[in-house]
């Protein structure tokens, strides 16, 4: 991860200097079975900034052979005939792993249902690293939909590779953090707690990682959605309680869970975080496609 982060830092300079042509012979497929703005566009921009080419679909579920009954495995096998790397988002947990098992070219998981979103976690950790110069010793609170939010799941896994001081989970009951993550943290001896008072947490956390209550993951359970939505909002009052060196992150998109009045506060790091997505994904693509250059 440190190697990747160092490379991501270099990428900031590459972008400033007008890009690179290190991937000029490479073609990436972006294969998205679910909507995405920032993940897809930042991957595609990352490839372009390194001189590479992109083909793909922004709605694979409806417009590709999936609509004709083709299995994911067949789709991957065929697309792997045309390109050098496949970036995929799918609506089923485990689909990226299934694809990687049979693919002739590298698969990058850009989110698989309620499963994982590893490149998001990488850019989240990179952002913390850049904002604090370190990960070890920090108190990191994760707030919002911790059950369905794959970014939270991936971030918790990734943080378990560092020596953070504590992870605090703050979630409405219906979307509390799941046991597999807690078990994973216990195994790695990462101190964690579940709390329900955002005011208390705001006073002590170094990082508040806010997330959106994702209506689309609730399906018919609209009562559950209503119960969860709007319970933990970060507004001016909450921010006023936070230490000056603290930071607010959010994987975005946000709806109402951080009020826009917070955006101009220096502790609001979420747009810098989005920007970091470009650099981390450039670093990833270069590492995979041109490790020696």
């Amino acid at each position: 991860m440190e190697t990747l982060f160092a490379l991501a830092s270099e990428m900031e300079t590459v972008v400033e200097q007008g890009g690179s042509s290190v991937l000029s012979n490479k073609v990436m497929a972006s294969l998205f079975y679910e909507p995405s703005t920032r993940t897809r566009l930042s991957f595609e921009a990352a490839m372009r900034r390194l001189g590479g080419q992109v083909i793909g679909t922004e709605n694979a579920r409806e417009f590709s052979s999936a609509a004709k009954g083709e299995t994911l495995e067949d789709t991957i096998r065929v697309i792997g005939c045309y390109v050098d790397v496949i970036v995929m988002r799918h609506y089923q947990a485990g689909s990226a792993e299934k694809a990687a098992d049979i693919s002739a070219v590298p698969i990058i998981n850009a989110g698989d249902g309620t499963g994982q979103h590893p490149t998001q976690a990488l850019l989240d950790v990179y952002t913390i690293w850049k904002e604090f110069d370190a990960i070890d010793g920090l108190t990191i609170a994760m707030v919002g939909d911790l059950a369905n939010g794959r970014t939270v799941r991936s971030l918790a896994y990734l943080l378990s590779k560092f020596r953070v001081k504590r992870i605090i989970f703050v979630a409405p009951d219906v979307v509390a953090i799941k046991d597999d993550i807690k078990e994973h943290l216990r195994e790695h001896k990462i101190p964690f707690s579940e709390e329900d008072d955002l005011v208390a947490v705001a006073k002590k956390a170094d990082v508040i990682y806010q997330t959106r209550i994702q209506r689309e993951r609730f399906g018919d359970r609209q009562a559950d959605f209503e119960a969860a939505y709007g319970k933990y909002i970060i507004d001016k009052q909450i921010v006023a309680l936070m230490p000056e060196r603290a930071r607010i992150l959010h994987p975005l998109p946000r709806v109402n869970e951080i009020t826009t009045e917070v955006d101009s506060d220096p502790r609001a790091a979420y747009f810098r975080q989005a920007q970091n997505g470009l650099y981390v994904r450039m670093a990833l693509l270069k590492t995979i496609l041109a490790p020696e250059s």
Copy 2:
């Protein structure tokens, strides 16, 4: 505008000679919340012809974070982290201005609801300029849906910067030209009239700018649509009345408002006009992204 038109003329030569690489370090996002063929594809082709790269979505409304409840402002802030310029079409009037207010990168308005479509107006005026070698002194008739047609609105604004002889508006009552445009022309002392006899107008106009009655802008008011649709058709009979040096323009797409038998008449300039869209958009992108090269 003259500088831009001169550059657009140069671009014709650039395309003939196989393109340029002046924007090879630049990435454009095309962010379309509404369907588009010619505007989106001509912008994307323009970027490619200058060596630049493109990322984007052709259905932002459904496939991007907008579907998750993200505000346009947040979407623009994030995409601006990845690219050098954003070309956007949105279904709400004023949205391009809203985006430009907070964007870190230039925003090009590719149509905002019933608001404006400035790059269309630029290519319209460029076409008139190329066909007549001048704009001043011309009599220009605008026909069709003048209430909802944003191209007409933008064109009227732009023509007010020249000394045209007269603008004639010819529209079914339900889609007559709006007061704000008339007010604007009065302020700029541009003579204009509203007429309802296309035969009489055909005999005296230098330019007939025909437009489509846009079913999608009528919503539930189908009776209004039926009343307007088919009232002013340019066919062989109308063309026969026009002076030889006169020209027919149309922003396209057309449905039935110009019959296809007219296409081969030298006065039919609408496909040349479409072609000019490429050159004008190349000129715009170069002016914005590489003004010094």
Copy 3:
């Protein structure tokens, strides 16, 4: 065809060596009115591998001016103003020809309804040629939906230019091969037969070209679909009957008509066939856009 195949063979080397820049000044439009994964992506990858650029739409029916009532002819005329070649898939038989009649730039038919799919046929024949070093003298069985499958239709036409030993059609009654194809083969003196015993055919055919029963072509006739679906499945038992030098082809996507247990058999050539699509389309694009380079 032999020139094209020789060039396609060269393209394998070009891809291995990291691509070419022979089309670096060229822009292709991909204009798809129907879903496609492999055809669209392989054309786009082909263009990229040769250094060319791509613009387009993956859902022209809904997102382009077609939704506003524009004719295909107008769309083609306009897009031809922006690009050097148009690759189009359309839902109506004959549409590619209609487009080619008025287009200023070359049109490549990437499938027109139940009409033709000529580039698929080219890659099919190329695959047979590569697997057997010849086409003449082979017994080629076509299985599945022979009425609606445009790939089968195009392949039969193309094979009539060679001296194959025999073509065998194996299809459920409701989707039997149509008379125009049979008439064409008779004219070209190509021996053919219609048979219904896949076991007997498996023992004698050099090539089994399996196809999918296409639910989307049946419309309301679901009873017909049910009757046809699942009648001729290639599984381990069928493969065991085939000569060792025989080959199974399939234009893909498949649903259940070849079981996945067959994939690892050396006679299963369908993924090699998909890969060949890239090379054949590279050869086509180069032939059309840069014949002299």
